[in-house]
C-alpha cells in the first residue's frame, strides 16, 4: 500500500465557480499503480491523426469557400493539402492498428455508441470526396463533379475535424473525459487554425484575406475553449500544465497567437504570411500532441482517477441518497 500525496494546490486564489470542495490531501493507492490503462496508441500516429484530420477537414471547407469566391489558386492548393492530409491520416490510423490487415473490419458495423466507428464511416465518405475534389482541381477535368465533391468534402470536413474530440473524450482518461464538453470545440478551433495556416502558407497574398480573418477567429476560439477545458478539469488540469503536455500546450498558445497576430498585421506580405501560416500549423500540432500527452499522464497517475471520483462520491453522499 502506498500513501499517495496530492500535489501542491493550484496557483492562484480560489474564484467563484472553482471546485466546491478541496480534494482529500492524500489517499491509499495500490502501490502507486495506475487504476486505468493508458491507451497504447502511438503519439505520432494518433495525435498526428488528430492534427492531420483537422487540417484536412477544415481545409476542405476553406477550399470550397475559395472555390466559390473566385480564389482558384488557394482553392486548388487547399484541396491538394486536404487530400494529402487525409491520406496520411488513413495511413497513420491503419499503422496504429494491432492488426493492420484487418482495417476493413472498421466498416463491419455502424455504431453510434462508438466514436471510432462513426469516424471510420465519416472518413470513408469524406476521403473519396476530398480525393475527387483535388483530382478535378489539379487536372481541370470534370469541373461539375469536382464542384460536387468540393461541396461534399466541405460539409463533411468540419465533422471530421470535430469528432476526434469525442473520440478522445469518450474514454476513462481523466484529462480527456473531464473536458468532454470542450474538447470538440478545441479540436474544431485548432483545425480551423491549421487550415487557415496552410492557406496562408501556400496561397497567394491577394487571395489570403479570408484565411487571415479565419486565423484570428480560430485563435480566439482555441484560447477560449482551452481555458474552459482547464476550468472543467478541476485538479486534473494539472496534467495540461505540467511536464511534456504543459510545455506543448504553452508552446501551442504562443505559436497560435503569434501566427494569428502575424497574419492579421503582416499577412499581406508573402514572407510574413508564410511564417504566420507555419506558426499556426505548428501551434495546432502542438495543441493535439499536448492534449494527447496530458491524457497519457493523467491515465498513468492514480491520483487523477481516484481524487475526482472520490470527490464526486462524497458530494453525492453529502446531498443524501438519491441526490
Amino acid at each position: 500500500m502506498t500513501r499517495t500525496e496530492s500535489g501542491p494546490a493550484p496557483k492562484g486564489g480560489r474564484r467563484r465557480g472553482d471546485q466546491p470542495m478541496v480534494p482529500r490531501a492524500d489517499f491509499d493507492s495500490y502501490y502507486g499503480r495506475p487504476v486505468i490503462k493508458a491507451p497504447s496508441w502511438g503519439a505520432v500516429d494518433i495525435a498526428g491523426y488528430f492534427f492531420l484530420g483537422g487540417l484536412a477537414g477544415a481545409g476542405s471547407t476553406l477550399a470550397a469557400g475559395a472555390h466559390l469566391t473566385g480564389r482558384p489558386r488557394t482553392a486548388t492548393a487547399m484541396k491538394v493539402s486536404s487530400l494529402a492530409a487525409v491520406s496520411l491520416s488513413a495511413a497513420a490510423l491503419i499503422h496504429d492498428l494491432g492488426r493492420p490487415s484487418r482495417f476493413a473490419n472498421m466498416l463491419r458495423v455502424l455504431k453510434p455508441t462508438s466514436p471510432m466507428s462513426v469516424g471510420s464511416w465519416l472518413l470513408s465518405g469524406y476521403g473519396p470526396a476530398a480525393g475527387v475534389a483535388a483530382a478535378s482541381a489539379v487536372t481541370g477535368r470534370l469541373p461539375r463533379t469536382g464542384a460536387l465533391a468540393t461541396g461534399a468534402a466541405a460539409l463533411l470536413g468540419p465533422a471530421v475535424a470535430s469528432y476526434t474530440g469525442v473520440l478522445a473524450a469518450d474514454t476513462a482518461v481523466p484529462a480527456w473525459h473531464g473536458a468532454h464538453r470542450e474538447l470538440p470545440h478545441l479540436f474544431a478551433a485548432s483545425a480551423t487554425a491549421a487550415a487557415a495556416g496552410m492557406a496562408l502558407a501556400v496561397g497567394p497574398t491577394r487571395e489570403n484575406g479570408p484565411a487571415r480573418y479565419a486565423a484570428g477567429l480560430a485563435a480566439l476560439a482555441d484560447l477560449a475553449s482551452a481555458t474552459a477545458a482547464e476550468r472543467s478539469l478541476g485538479m486534473v488540469a494539472e496534467t495540461w500544465r505540467q511536464g511534456r503536455a504543459g510545455f506543448l500546450l504553452r508552446t501551442a498558445r504562443v505559436l497560435t497567437v503569434s501566427g494569428a497576430v502575424g497574419a492579421a498585421v503582416l499577412g499581406g506580405r508573402r514572407p510574413a504570411a508564410i511564417a504566420s501560416g507555419l506558426a499556426l500549423l505548428a501551434g495546432s500540432a502542438c495543441t493535439r500532441f499536448g492534449v494527447f500527452a496530458a491524457g497519457i499522464a493523467s491515465a498513468k497517475d492514480p491520483r487523477y482517477t481516484v481524487l475526482p471520483q472520490r470527490e464526486r462520491a462524497e458530494a453525492r453522499a453529502d446531498t443524501g441518497p438519491g441526490g
Binding site: P39, S40, T69, M106, K111, T113, S162, A169, T171, A172
Partner: protein
C-alpha cells in the same frame, strides 16, 4: 439474454492469496506467460490485470501508522488484505460500447466477450474501461480479457477460477442469488465487528449499472487499485455528439464569416464560374439538409442514452447468436 445473468461474487474476507484462481485461469484459457519478474513491493508479482492475466490477486500489507487513517486491524497490528480481481462484466460496458468492429459483444449469460476473429487491435476499449481491465497483447496486437470461461458456461460448468478457489472466496452463480448472499455476508461481518466490510460493484444504480463481478472489500476500493466511483463514459456521449455538432457548425460558420468579411477574390474569372454555379446551388440544398441532419443526429444522440438499455437487449440476442454460430 436467453439464459439467466450469471456473475462472480468475490468475498475478499476469506481470500488467502493462494493464487489458484490465477493459475487455473491461465491453464484453462491457455494464456501465454507475460512476465516472471519480482516486483519487490509485496508478494504480488503478477501486478495487474492485463491481456494475459485475467485474474489478479492483490496483496496489501497495512502497517500500523501514526496517522491512524487506515492502519491495520482494530488492535493496531499489521494486517494483510488479499483480493482476486477480475473483469467486472459491467451492465453498461464501455469497452463494448466503443468497440468499432463489433468484436466485443454481450453473451446470452450477460457477460462481455471479445471475438478474437473480429478484433483488429484498434485499442479503443483499453482506455475506455474505467477499471483498467482489457489490454492489447503486445506480440499479437489484439485485445484480450476475461470471458468468464464462456466455453465452460456453454456446457454448464462454472468458470475455472471459481472451481479452483479453495475457500469459496470466488463464488459463481446467478447474479441475483449472489447479491442476496453478499448482503447476508456483509451483515454477518458487521455483527462480528468488521465495521469496514462493504460491497463494491453490487449497486445497479452506480455509474456502470452494476457489475457482473462484484466484491466484498475490507477497505476503500482505491486501496485495492479499484476506482471509487467508476462511470461508463458513453453515458455522456449524447452531450459530446451535440458539442461536436455545434463545433462542426461553428467551423462552417466561422469560415463563412471570414469569407464574408474578406469580400470577393481579386480574380473571379469566368473559368471558375461554371463550377461555381453548380456548387452554389448544390451547397445551399445540401447545407439545408445538413442542418436538418445535425438536428436529427443530436436528437438521436439524446436517445442513445435512453435507448441503450432497450437496444442493448436486442443487440445482445443477435450478437450472441452470431457468436454461437461462429463457434
Amino acid at each position: 439474454m436467453s439464459e439467466e445473468r450469471v456473475g462472480f461474487f468475490t468475498d475478499t474476507s476469506v481470500c488467502i492469496g493462494c493464487k489458484a484462481c490465477e493459475v487455473a485461469c491461465k491453464e484453462w484459457n491457455a494464456l501465454p506467460e507475460d512476465g516472471l519478474s519480482l516486483t519487490g513491493m509485496s508478494y504480488d508479482n503478477t501486478q495487474a490485470l492485463g491481456a494475459s492475466t485475467w485474474r489478479h490477486v492483490a496483496f496489501i500489507e497495512q502497517l500500523p501508522s501514526g496517522d491512524g487513517q487506515s492502519a491495520a486491524d482494530g488492535d493496531g497490528r499489521m494486517r494483510w488484505l488479499m483480493s482476486s480481481d477480475v473483469c467486472k462484466h459491467c451492465t453498461h460496458a464501455a469497452c463494448l460500447d466503443v468497440c468499432p468492429t463489433g468484436s466485443l459483444f454481450r453473451t446470452e449469460f450477460g457477460t462481455v466477450v471479445v471475438q478474437e476473429d473480429i478484433c483488429n487491435g484498434c485499442g479503443y476499449c483499453v482506455p475506455a474501461c474505467p477499471y483498467g481491465v482489457i489490454e492489447q497483447r503486445p506480440a499479437d496486437g489484439r485485445a484480450f480479457k476475461c470471458t468468464m470461461c464462456y466455453d465452460r458456461l456453454g456446457t454448464g460448468l462454472e468458470p475455472a477460477c471459481a472451481k479452483a478457489c479453495p475457500t469459496d472466496s470466488i463464488q459463481f452463480g446467478p447474479l441475483d442469488e449472489l447479491r442476496e448472499r453478499a448482503a447476508l455476508r456483509v451483515d454477518q461481518l458487521h455483527e462480528a465487528g468488521v465495521a469496514d466490510a462493504r460491497l463494491y460493484g453490487h449497486d445497479l444504480a452506480d455509474g456502470v449499472g452494476g457489475d457482473g463481478a462484484f466484491f466484498l472489500l475490507l477497505d476503500e476500493p482505491e486501496v485495492y487499485g479499484l476506482p471509487p466511483d467508476p462511470v461508463v463514459t458513453t453515458r455522456d456521449l449524447p452531450t459530446m455528439w451535440r458539442h461536436a455538432g455545434a463545433a462542426a457548425l461553428s467551423v462552417l460558420g466561422g469560415l463563412a464569416l471570414s469569407f464574408a468579411m474578406a469580400g470577393r477574390g481579386a480574380k473571379a474569372g469566368r473559368s471558375v464560374r461554371a463550377g461555381r454555379g453548380a456548387l452554389v446551388g448544390w451547397g445551399v440544398t445540401v447545407g439545408r439538409g445538413a442542418m436538418a441532419g445535425w438536428g436529427v443526429t443530436a436528437g438521436r444522440g439524446a436517445m442513445v442514452g435512453r435507448g441503450a438499455t432497450v437496444g442493448r437487449g436486442a443487440m445482445v440476442g443477435r450478437a450472441a447468436m452470431a457468436g454461437r454460430r461462429r463457434r
